[in-house]
């Protein structure tokens, strides 16, 4: 097996809004930008919710009235840092025993420029050495759905 061993994925970008706006849109308005089709629920997603508070829930709501957990807020530090627990494993299943961290720093570069430093960590926890592969299944799925949506 020629496994790629990467235990985290890092991204960085500049957003031309204040640190506060960046943080608020990322958290309170996650539903605005998150691909509608990314969820592991049994019926179409109506909303993606991130409760804006320490230990706030992170979940999707569905047409059939059900809710599907994604994870929860590990660190709530407005407007500089957000850490979320991502608890969906590579088989599209919610696993309350699993914590991989999605860490997002919001760094004020200028009054209207914010640098986002993003890292999805602990991928090694996702499945005994095949972590990244299983993550890819999950995220790859999202990407494709996303592409189909934006066509």
């Amino acid at each position: 097996m020629n496994n790629v061993k990467i235990d985290s994925i890092r991204k960085e970008l500049l957003v031309e809004v204040s640190q506060e706006t960046a943080f608020k849109v990322f958290t309170e308005k996650m539903d605005l930008w998150w691909p509608r089709t990314h969820h592991i629920g049994k019926s179409p997603m109506t909303e993606l919710v991130l409760e804006s508070k320490p230990r706030g829930r992170w979940y999707s709501r569905h047409e059939d009235g059900s809710e599907q957990d994604v994870g929860y807020v590990l660190t709530w530090d407005p407007y500089g840092l957000l850490v979320l627990a991502w608890q969906i494993n590579g088989n599209f299943q919610f696993d309350p025993g699993l914590i991989t961290e999605v860490e997002v720093f919001f760094i004020a570069e200028a009054p209207e420029v914010t640098r986002i430093k993003f890292e999805h960590k602990n991928m090694e926890r996702l499945g005994g050495g095949k972590a990244v592969e299983s993550m890819d299944e999950g995220w790859g799925k999202i990407l494709d759905l996303y592409k189909n949506q934006t066509k």
Binding site: I9, L13, V15, S18, K29, P35, D136, I142, D144, Y146
Partner: protein, 109 residues
């Protein structure tokens, strides 16, 4: 949510959308197995397993090759590794969607 598969990834995603196929894929992630042994412990008939294996194979998630007298089935790392790039790409796209939303949001403030 019916979509025409377009990429190998669509195929992989659709292939893993089925719980039985996910279970088979999981088993194979532990170790390669002879085709005849895959149905063991799964609530599924052997003919059905063959059908599932075909779907997984078409999605480049597994490979089947002859070893002596039996067909051995294992994870296709070429396909799985290809997915790694999707993960990276996904974050690029999701974060750029976030950037757009944030900058648009500001205009309306």
């Amino acid at each position: 949510m019916k979509k025409q598969p377009q990429s190998s990834y669509d195929k992989a995603f659709n292939a893993l959308g089925d719980p039985t196929r996910r279970a088979i894929f999981e088993k194979l992630r532990v170790r390669p197995l002879a085709v005849v042994d895959i149905a063991d412990g799964l609530p599924v008939s052997r003919p059905a397993v063959s059908q599932h294996l075909k779907v997984l194979k078409d999605a480049r998630l597994i490979r089947v090759h002859r070893e002596g007298t039996r067909n051995l089935c294992q994870i296709d790392t070429r396909g799985v590794l290809a997915m790694r790039n999707y993960l990276d790409n996904f974050w690029d796209i999701a974060l750029s969607a976030f950037k757009q939303a944030a900058e648009k949001h500001k205009k309306h403030e």
